[in-house]
Subunit: 122 residues, 4 copies
């Protein structure tokens, strides 16, 4: 089954600096949910863009054939961690078709807030 | 009226394990809202993808002509229930055009949080 | 400026039956935000689809040239009101290009929850 | 890297009139997150549409090559501020491809609510 596209972008990006509630579920976080419904592993490169410096990356991840990866940006470390409380955007490139959805959990106040949207593709 | 497409995907997927507030409205849940605006019943197959095992499904549902179905993933049981607190993605295939929107209600904390997005289609 | 499409669909639809906080802002509601950026008035027909009955409508609204209308489904009355606590979907047809975004404010619990997504278009 | 489109629209638009929590993070606000992943600066014009008056703008902003701008509508002042508690829509035009995502933080009640969606493009 071939589902998706090879180039995606998420213009929003912001990891809150703190949170309320038990870890790891309620750590404020931001995720790129990546579906690879196909028969071949997806080799993915993520580039992060900022307001006032050159881009970071590429961050490399693999999503196996017929697998999903809910990738927390908080957990990226190589080539550098993603700074908290900092505006960013991301571009996600794959060698096989994938589907990308963006989600944030913001638990800074007494009840968590959530956003999610399909990412941009072309 | 022919509205929609036959292949949809939702890269996000996660049913919180508990909730706050009266059932059934405030049970934490995740739904695929499926519109069949056409003149023929939609025969739909849903496949679920996980992080570390082979896909589950197909789950089969029918949405009547000129009807909507707000399908809670929590309620799927055949061929197997959808595990709680587990990352997944879904691919939704229909024999006639449909429109799919993804929604989650997360009532784990003292006030519910909601997400919704149009699903990916091609 | 010609921006948008003439046929839109929102597969989600549910108006919570109660709310918390001062009216009208915090009445639980659902809206179709409709932008007509063009030089001609948009004559719009909305059809509502349900789980277990024939569709309702058409509901007719006009959005003036170079105007926006944040239409609350709660306020539709002709040919019939939109039932609360009931799953529905909507199809929105216009004679000129428009842009449609779907939003819900759910204030049933102690802090409001919001969803919003671009609607489906073809 | 050429990512995006030159014409975007956000049909939703509403800045809540007050908020709860420390500034600037928890000031109720609405943002257009704009990614310019390309090699050339993006010169952008934003036009705002209202329910009952002629459009405002253009508001002009520049997003540098390989940069992101999370533009708060609250901060626009030239040619005029964006009124609070007022329905609006926006059209965003750029001379090079960009990606636009819409986000609102509503902190009027005791825990913030968030929405986000990819904007409409053509």
């Amino acid at each position: 089954m071939e589902v998706g596209k090879k180039l995606w972008a998420i213009a929003e990006g912001y990891i809150p600096g703190y949170g309320t509630g038990p870890a790891p579920d309620f750590i404020s976080h931001e995720a790129a949910c990546i579906l690879n419904a196909g028969a071949h592993d997806a080799h993915i490169e993520i580039t992060l863009f900022f307001a006032d410096r050159e881009p970071a990356g590429p961050y490399r991840v693999t999503v196996g054939a017929r697998r999903t990866l809910h990738l927390r940006f908080n957990n990226l470390t190589d080539p550098e961690p993603v700074p908290l409380e900092t505006d960013y955007s991301s571009v996600i490139q794959s060698d096989v078709p994938i589907v990308v959805q963006h989600t944030r959990l913001d638990s800074r106040q007494t009840a968590n807030a959530l956003i999610s949207t399909i990412a941009y593709t072309q």
